[in-house]
Every structure is written in C-alpha cells, then in structure tokens.
C-alpha cells in the first residue's frame, strides 16, 4: 500500500460529479470567473446522464403550451410534496437552458421547419419533451463535456473518487445540526493511487441518485448515492428517501431501460394473452395502437403503469420468465423505418440485450427502479439546507442527488434533465459568487490537512481487511429492496427488510477487500460504494416504514390513503451511524 502522502489541490469551486448537473455547473462557475476543480469518479462522458433516452421538458410557446400547464402537471405528479416556488423557477428556466444547450451545439431533433421538435411524455398534458432521437442523454452529456474543454478555468480530475466533505469540525455528536463551514472535499486518485484534498470555499455536490441500490434497476453501477451519504455523515438531513420511481418498462434481468418515448411514439403494452391490460386497471379507455394520447393508457403516469403491472401479475396475466414475470411492449405496428429513425437505441438495445427485433417481435418488459426523488435538501438556487432549514455556508447540491422540491412524491419523466441543467447553472453561478464574497480566511493548511487525514483514514483502512467478499452483500441489498420497497409496500415487509439490512450492515463491516493495490483498486472502490448504497437502503426502508400513508411513488397496501397534510420525511445519522427519520411540513424553501 502507498505511503501516507496527501496531494493538495486548490480551486475557487470544487464540483463533485461530471454528469449533466456537474458539467453545467462547471460552465456556469467558469463563466462567472471562478477556477473550477471538476472531480468525477469516471470520465465525465461516462456519467449516467449518458443513458437518458427520452428527452428534456421545456415549454415551447409556439406549440400552444404554457408555463402554467407545465407547472400544473409537475405539481399534480408531485402529490403535495412539490414546492410551487421551486417548480415555477425550474419550469420558467427550462426553455432557456434547452436553448443554451442548442447554442452549445446540442443536436436536437427538428421539425420540418427547423425548430427543436417536442414529443409527448407520460403525465404531461402537452407535448413538451425536447429530444435528440432516443439518445438525448448521450448528446446532452457529450455536448456539455466538449464545451467544458474550451474553458481554461475548468480543471478536470477524472477517475478521482470523492470520499468525504471537508468540514472544519466533526459533526456535533448526536445533534442534527450541520458541522462547521465546508472547506473542500477529500478523495482518492485511482490512477496515481494517491489521497487528495481539494481545498475550496464552495463545494457543489452533483453526484447523481442511488437507484442502483435496487437489484432490478435501470441505473448504471456507478449510481450509488455517494454525495448523499457524504452529506449525511456531515450531519445533514436527507429528504424523502423512500420516494423511488419505478419505471414500468425495463428489460428483465438487466433492467436496461426501454424509454417511454417508445410508447410516446405509439407503442402499446400487452399481457401474456396479447391484451391491452392497462384498460382494466384504471388507465383506459383504450386508445388506437399508434395514436397515443397524453395521460391515457400507455402514456399514463409511470407509477400507475407500474402498479397496473403489479395487479396484472397478481391476476395471473403476466408471462413467467427466468428473470421474473413480464408483459410485452409491442412496437411492430410502428414499422422498421420509424424504429430506425425515431427509436434507434430502443431497436439496438432490444436486439442486443433481449434478443428480439422490435419490428417483428414483442419486447418483454418489467418494472425496474429508475429514479430517486429524494436527496440532499437544497433550495432552488442549489444552496444546501440543514435540518433547521438554514443555509449551509459554502455547500451546494444539484441534479439527482438534490431534493429541491421539484419532483415531490413522483417525478415526471423528462423533468430531471432540465432540473440538472437549471440547478447546475444556478449552483455554479451561486458558488462562484459565494467564493468571491467569502469574508473569513480559510483555516490554516495544517488544520485542513490534519482534518483531511482524519476523514480519509477509515476509508483507506478498508483495504486488505475483512472476511466476506462484498459482492454477495450487494446482491442481497438489491433483492431486499426489490422485494419490499418497490411498487407496493407494507409494514410487515418493510420490517423484514429493515431486519435484513441491519444484518447486512453487520456483514459489510467485516467485508473483505482482498486487493491491497494503491493504484486502480476497484475492489476497494466497490466496497466504498456499497457502504453508501446500504446506508441509503436502510434510510429508505426506515422512511418508508415511518410514512404511514400512500402518496405518489410511495404506495402502502396497509395505508392506502394519503394523509390530510403532506409532509417530507427527513433522515439524519448519528455519528455511530444510527439513522433517525422525522417528518417536516412542506414549506417553500
């Protein structure tokens, strides 16, 4: 193992994450004149934003759409947990951001007269989803990444794993209050095998969500919620952890997403007998195949579609496969040309990963964990808030890791890419300004270094220790969540899940990291990620158990009604790792 070396890097703003939110933040901070350290555990263009298929929502007045309708659709889906102020800000800024991307060269799909085209999306009353074929995330990410190469103010630290927020003091034992001001982050350079301290007056967390915790998930292996657990360990609350969106159409086994755009283009869902089963579960009346209608049948809200799957499964209408029960997505009537042109990725994924040609065959699909609405509590400028609602000096969060009150209890598809852009821009500008305004000098280098070593030590010490290989633990976490924290939940199952996860936490404490290499130790990095996933799994189960109502993505069989007053769950951690969940009223902050 390497020596005790610690590399020190300095910047005005350090951004953790190189997905849509992190890259957008980097551009904005650099535009405001800040020196940016852009740190990501993968090369930015590998970030999971790349997998987004469908598109990004933004009102185009020319089509007769209005901000009010986008606002109303989002609030409806949020089921009482969205904040009107936050929704309004994002909705209003969305078109500007999408046009900004266009100016950066985003290859948006076009109408015949050359304007960016929009398509309908589930839960949206009006077509407003801008798209670039069905590879919107790929294009968005590469466009932003290439734009960041232009700025000399943006310094990238690729394949550096960030481990902790650097705060001046440890979080006060047992309290919910946040620790001292944020002074940077600490992490590890995988290629050089070296610990690193990034010192900066402001930090933006843009680390993405945690839906990889579930076994059947549309998310990549890197989507492990690292930023959330860093915030949690720094004494900050995480909001609405139990709110996970289940996508109705993942491929069985792999969970690979078949985008909703396939249904937006006219695809239909069939049960094992070939019937449009959605009509029997409250989503009818039946639409003509190939003529989708917003809000009905295949374009109903995602949670309604996932729930219909659950009911159809219970009613014996699904087909059994080695990877669990499935229904079928029928795209045959669209024809090979539409598939090639509008849904090339769906065509490719179905052929390669399900072995079917969608022009001629049905695609087997089943629900998969997809998007985590909960996250680090932040306002609409990306400023992180502590448990008392006060701003945490120097700390920002943007993108899927943040909970700003946009998605509430359920996200509308195509609202999250714009959130990442709008909040990334706001956080980047805000952080640059906060750094420029900083009045107090940073703590002495000796103090920061000592604190950094203290924070790093337990993580580095994981190498070469323990007995049980972590892969089995990771798998079991996924199975527990798939079983008890997916479409419908109930007390007995959640209690079983909590017990199982507590047992897994004990096993994880003794997990074996056999590889002792300082350089490129992926055995160690995966163990670090598993610590994050398991913590969030425990938090999500605990919050789900505490939320004795049904709302949005959280459906309790034993509490089928929504409570009269909507409340957010807030989960905090004591220094010994014990999690506490409480509830707070929905305010506008």
């Amino acid at each position: 193992m390497a020596d005790n070396s610690l590399r020190i890097e300095r910047a005005d703003v350090v951004i953790v994450g190189g997905g849509a939110a992190g890259l957008r933040a980097a551009l904005a901070a650099a535009a405001a004149g800040a020196r940016v350290a852009l740190v990501s555990k993968v090369y930015p263009m590998r970030s999971h934003t790349v997998a987004a298929e469908g598109g990004a929502a933004g009102v185009q007045p020319a089509t007769g759409d209005t901000f009010e309708q986008h606002l109303a659709d989002t609030l409806r889906s949020g089921a009482g947990l969205s904040h009107p102020v936050a929704v309004e800000e994002v909705v209003r800024r969305a078109p500007e951001e999408l046009i900004h991307l266009e100016r950066l060269g985003m290859p948006w799909s076009r109408t015949p007269d050359g304007l960016p085209a929009v398509r309908p999306f589930g839960g949206m009353s009006h077509p407003r989803t801008w798209y670039a074929a069905d590879k919107t995330g790929h294009h968005l990410l590469h466009t932003l990444f290439q734009a960041t190469l232009r700025s000399p103010l943006i310094r990238r630290y690729d394949e550096h794993v960030v481990l902790e927020l650097l705060t001046t003091e440890p979080s006060p034992a047992g309290t919910r209050a946040a620790a001292g001001a944020v002074e940077g982050v600490v992490g590890y350079d995988q290629a050089r095998g070296e610990a690193v301290l990034w010192q900066a007056s402001t930090v933006i967390l843009a680390t993405g969500g945690y839906a990889r915790a579930w076994g059947t998930s549309t998310n990549a292996g890197i989507v492990t919620g690292d930023g959330l657990t860093m915030a949690l360990r720094a004494g900050l609350p995480l909001r609405d952890l139990e709110m996970v969106q289940v996508h109705p159409t993942g491929l069985p086994g792999s969970g690979i997403l078949i985008t909703e755009a396939a249904r937006g283009e006219g695809g239909v869902l069939l049960d094992a007998a070939g019937e449009r089963y959605l009509a029997d579960y409250g989503l009818g009346p039946v639409t003509e195949p190939g003529s989708p209608e917003a809000g009905r049948m295949e374009l109903g809200r995602r949670d309604a579609l996932s729930q219909a799957f659950w009911q159809a499964d219970r009613d014996g209408r699904t087909a059994a496969t080695a990877d669990g029960s499935v229904v079928y997505l029928d795209l045959r009537h669209l024809g090979d040309e539409v598939l090639r042109e509008r849904l090339p990725l769906v065509r490719e994924l179905a052929r390669r990963f399900a072995g079917v040609d969608p022009a001629r065959e049905l695609i087997p699909v089943r629900p998969a964990a997809h998007y985590t609405m909960g996250g680090i509590v932040a306002d609409v400028r990306g400023q992180v808030r502590d448990a008392d609602g006060a701003v945490v000096a120097g700390l920002f969060a943007a993108g899927e890791c943040a909970s700003i009150g946009l998605h509430g209890a359920n996200r509308l598809g195509s609202n999250s890419l714009v959130e990442a852009l709008v909040l990334g821009a706001a956080a980047g500008t805000g952080a640059a300004q906060a750094t420029a305004r900083r009045a107090t000098p940073p703590p002495s280098p000796a103090l920061l270094e000592a604190r950094a070593r203290e924070l790093l030590a337990p993580w580095l010490a994981l190498r070469g220790r323990g007995t049980e290989p972590p892969a089995a633990i990771r798998r079991e976490v996924g199975q527990v969540l798939d079983r008890h924290l997916l479409i419908f939940r109930e007390a007995a199952g959640l209690q079983q899940a909590a017990t199982a996860l507590a047992g897994l936490a004990v096993r994880l404490a003794d997990a074996r990291v056999a590889d002792t290499s300082a350089v490129w130790n992926t055995d160690w990095a995966e163990a670090v990620e598993l610590h994050s996933l398991l913590t969030l799994a425990r938090g999500a189960v605990q919050a789900a158990l505490a939320r004795e109502e049904s709302r949005g993505a959280h459906q309790r069989l034993d509490f089928p009604e929504a409570a009269a007053v909507p409340r957010h769950s807030l989960t905090t951690a004591a220094p010994d790792g014990t999690l506490t969940t409480c509830f707070a009223e929905v305010t506008d902050a």
Partner: protein
C-alpha cells in the same frame, strides 16, 4: 448438470510491471456478455482483476477491451460465440495501460481538445473563450438567502421571458449531414484497431477527427477556418491516415471515422 464453462485468458499487468497471462475456467450462459465473465472472475477467483464498466448497455463507452485480438465493448459482446475458441482478453492496443485491462483515455481527451470540439459561432472566439453566454446563468437577485421572486409575469403570460434568445433553426436535412458523427461514445476501439496509431502514437486518430468533422459539418458552426490550420496543416492530424478502414469496421456505434478522414484529405487536396 454442471454449468458449462469457457476458458478465459486475461493479460494482466500491475502498474509499471511486465504483462502476464492468467487463465480461468468461467461458467457462462447463453446470454452472458464478456463483461459478465469478467465479473464472475472478479467475484469468484480474483478480486484484484481490474477493468472498467458502468452502464452495461453499450452507451457509456467504458468497457473497451481486446477480445481475441479485436477491440470490443465487453458489455455488448456475447460470450457464447467463443465457446469453441475460448476467450483471450487484453487491454486495448495502442494506449498506455494503467492496470490489467484499464487503459488511459487522457491522451485521447487532449487530442480531442486540439480539434476545438465545440460550437464556434459567428462571433467566433476560438479556444479558451469560456462558455457561450446564456441568459440562464444569472440567477435571481443576489445577497438574499431566500429563493428569488417568482417569475409570475412571464408565467402569467405564458410566453418566454423577454430578451431570451430563440433557438437557431436547423432543418432535418442539415441535422442529418453530421448526425452520424455525433454517435461516438469515445470508447477508443477505433484507436486500438488503427494500424497507423500503432506506428505513430501522435496521430490524432479516428474518433477525434470524426468529432472535428461533426462540428465542421454542423450548419450552426462557423469554426471550420479555425480548425483548419491544425487539421490540414499539421503533421499528425489527418495526413497520417492511410485509409485502411479498420476504424470504421471496429466502431460499435456505426460512426465512420474513415469517411471523415478521407473527406478532409480529399477537400484539402482539392
């Protein structure tokens, strides 16, 4: 019935150490990918085996490796087809190895940067000009810790905020002129396949040139003249290409870098 297994030989290498080969018998199924086999080895045989992966669906470009001598994405390469031959895995050729199957994309990113891979508009600042101005990057009023005032005026009227830029128009035909070149996932399989890169590591290479072409062909871009001195007049940009075509054959995303190189060379020669 015992699970069928397949013989997998991996070329491994510690940082700074010599390459060595290790062979494993790995269980597989009809749908197993080469990436699944790597996972199985890491989980059951040797946790120190090092390789990159993330999306498992061929979109992130992380998992490029050499499979029996051909550059492939491990996650979308089926294992069963190799049951008779066995599988030999090695790091992608032509790139520095960091550990085992992990090679460094750093050199590619600096080559990419050298072609100015961003939209250069009429105002046309070249490299290092920072970002294109966006109305959106200035948030609501500063100083206050409260969220900015709601934009009720624009919301009520249902129109875009005044002064907001409109999108540039681009016809579907103009889009399709460069769309194929936008599919690149930066997996670098084309570099591993290229015979020129092997002889001349400085060659800017297939993907970076394809991306340069993507920008030059974009009707919204006016940067061709700024890119030209580097592309057309330096030694290692387009001229080393011998039109072997291996890059295009290797590309898992249907990009045709050979065409980009050929078209640049032809245009330059008039």
């Amino acid at each position: 019935m015992p699970e069928p297994t397949i013989e997998v030989t991996v070329t491994r290498q510690e940082p700074g150490g010599p390459p060595r080969e290790e062979t494993f018998e790995v269980p597989y199924g009809e749908r197993s990918s080469v990436l699944d086999l790597l996972d199985a080895i890491k989980e059951r045989e040797d946790p120190s085996l090092t390789y990159r992966w993330s999306c498992r669906s061929g979109v992130c470009g992380s998992c490029g490796v050499s499979v029996n001598g051909s550059p492939r994405l491990a996650c979308e390469t089926g294992a069963a087809g190799y049951r008779a031959s066995g599988i030999r895995l090695a790091p992608l050729a032509g790139v520095a190895v960091e550990r085992d199957l992990v090679t460094s994309p750093a050199d590619f990113v600096s080559k990419l940067r050298s072609v100015l891979p961003w939209l250069i508009d009429d105002a046309g600042a070249g490299a290092g000009a920072g970002e294109v101005a966006a109305g959106s990057s200035a948030p609501a009023p500063l100083g206050s810790m409260e969220p900015g005032p709601p934009a009720s005026d624009s919301l009520a009227s249902g129109t875009l905020a005044s002064g907001q830029a409109a999108p540039t128009t681009q016809s579907p035909a103009e889009l399709s002129a460069f769309a194929d070149f936008t599919a690149c996932v930066n997996c670098l399989l084309c570099y591993a396949a290229c015979p020129v890169v092997k002889e001349m590591p400085e060659f800017v290479g297939p993907a970076a040139i394809a991306i340069a072409r993507r920008w030059d062909l974009d009707s919204r871009d006016h940067g061709a003249q700024q890119r030209a001195p580097f592309l057309l007049e330096t030694e290692f940009a387009i001229w080393p290409c011998i039109q072997d075509g291996s890059c295009t054959i290797a590309c898992p995303k249907g990009v045709d870098p050979a065409r980009a190189l050929r078209d640049y060379q032809r245009e330059a020669m008039g």
